[in-house]
Symmetry: C2
Subunit: 81 residues, 2 copies
């Protein structure tokens, strides 16, 4: 298949952020090409709950189970897209 | 001067995000070309405090006094950069 394999971890992100991080969903940030270190810190904020309310709760749902290593892998995928 | 006038409102952002939204500071997100609707919702989350802890407190400091109109103007500036 031509499309690069999408890491299974990323599948949760795709519904809002699209596989390459250029979202079609309104109000969802572009994360394609975003800084990896920022994506890591944002995901950790969602995971820890230090971002709350509205979309943050959706993000917390998706990030709660992620390990630091998972977060690094997800951040690497979108930052290099 | 060649550089476009930077809206006074944006001056607070420049130290971390740079004038065009491509930060030189580690851990600071690229906001150049980010979706305006996302920037508006993020700024409102910082302003309301629904993002807290660490850098969120810095962002809250800068966004506390902003009106909705200010936020729209700042979001427009960086999203079109």
């Amino acid at each position: 298949d031509e499309a690069p394999a999408i890491p299974p971890l990323v599948s949760g992100c795709v519904s809002c952020h699209s596989a390459d991080g250029n979202p079609l969903v309104a109000g969802v940030p572009i994360i394609a090409g975003q800084r990896a270190d920022y994506l890591v810190s944002a995901l950790k904020s969602y995971r820890s709950g230090s971002r709350s309310g509205g979309p943050a709760d959706v993000m917390r749902h998706f990030s709660e189970e992620l390990s630091d290593k998972d977060i690094e892998e997800i951040a690497a995928w979108f930052s290099t897209n």
